[in-house]
Subunit: 223 residues, 2 copies
């Protein structure tokens, strides 16, 4: 699906709210409707558009009730400058991408223009380099997004069955810690769960040697 159609999709607040909800956990139509205060009819209409875009997919549970979840990774970039309006969209794969292939990406972001910044030839060369750099960075960002999803999948799986919480919850707590949340209140807010649930997850994670605490500060265990 092209970037224009994706921007049309994302330009609707309720659709963004639905995506945000489904990215927390798969949901039934009724759950979405109650949570967001939007009529089921409107929710179904939004979900159909999101499904057509391939962003959302549906499955049935054991009672044959339909529930919806995020189908795939999407990455959209928009650049507006006085010289151009550009959009890029991609669906970075997670599983099976580059696993086992080591890549070291060296990006030279130094400036080569100190001497004569008005030399058109030097400026053109710098432009060429920067445009190439922009593409490499985009590719690297897609790769990272795919890898993060892959790691989150594996973390969820590795904690399924351990403790009483859904394996995915442990992965979310770890992701919140990786994004800077260090205390139970902050984690609770970030993952949108009760402090009790967060504490239970942290205790399980500590028992597995994944996290450690220093007073009320929690962190990933080093080494």
């Amino acid at each position: 699906m092209d970037s224009a159609a994706l921007l049309d999709l994302l330009g609707n607040e309720n659709r963004r709210r639905i995506l945000r909800l489904l990215a927390r956990k798969p949901c039934y139509v009724t759950e979405i409707s109650e949570y967001l205060g939007v009529s089921p009819k409107a929710v179904i209409d939004h979900l159909r558009k999101l499904e057509d875009a391939g962003l959302v997919e549906s499955r049935v549970d054991s009672q044959r009730r339909k529930y919806f979840s995020i189908a795939r990774n999407l990455r959209l970039e928009v650049n507006v400058t006085p010289y151009g309006f550009g959009t890029k969209s991609a669906y970075p794969a997670s599983r099976g991408l580059d696993f086992g292939r080591c890549r070291y990406l060296s990006l030279d972001v130094s400036s080569s223009l100190e001497d004569d910044p008005s030399d058109a030839h030097a400026l053109a060369g710098e432009l060429d380099r920067l445009e190439g750099l922009e593409n490499e960075l985009s590719m690297a960002q897609r790769w990272v997004q795919g890898r993060i999803t892959d790691v989150m999948d594996r973390l969820s799986e590795s904690f399924d069955g351990h403790g009483s919480l859904d394996g995915r919850f442990y992965a979310e707590v770890l992701a919140a810690m990786a994004n800077g949340a260090e205390t139970v209140p902050k984690l609770s807010h970030r993952v949108d769960a009760s402090p009790e649930m967060v504490e239970e997850a942290l205790e399980t994670l500590a028992r597995h040697g994944v996290v450690e605490s220093d007073g009320d500060r929690w962190s990933l265990r080093e080494e």
Copy 2:
């Protein structure tokens, strides 16, 4: 302006068309209206919203007619994954940013998980590393966008007064070449100008030692 409001802005096709137009050249309301086939009233309404967002600004010309242009750089990233819905927006500065400060950014995108991909501790460490990498890449992208605009400004200035074309046009031709267009038809299509204008610009650029041709293939001069 927050990302949700920006997505609302960009979720309208006519606003995107206006941004695309203004990113080619500054325009009067009547120009936009005729070019896009949208009523002046609607154009004015869209422009007001874009101005409120700080994306577009207006000036008056010597006949006191108001014209609009892109005000600043904007970079918007949207990530949808089964684990989160994230948006980032930034207004990367161009002038005065990092000029003269050399930065070498080494990004290790290798995977460290070959040995035991189910080891939760290793996975958590990898997640931490990837989240940090995602932030570094975002910052690098903003820097690159600011630098590209800066270089385009300087290229435009360096060609103002040379030849009969607007200095900016030479910069656009060079940017199109940096993005892979090598022949006059391709350049003509990419910069949306006649082949004659493109040829004239290329001849001026060749005279200044910035580009060279090999048959019908044009490229930036090396060295």
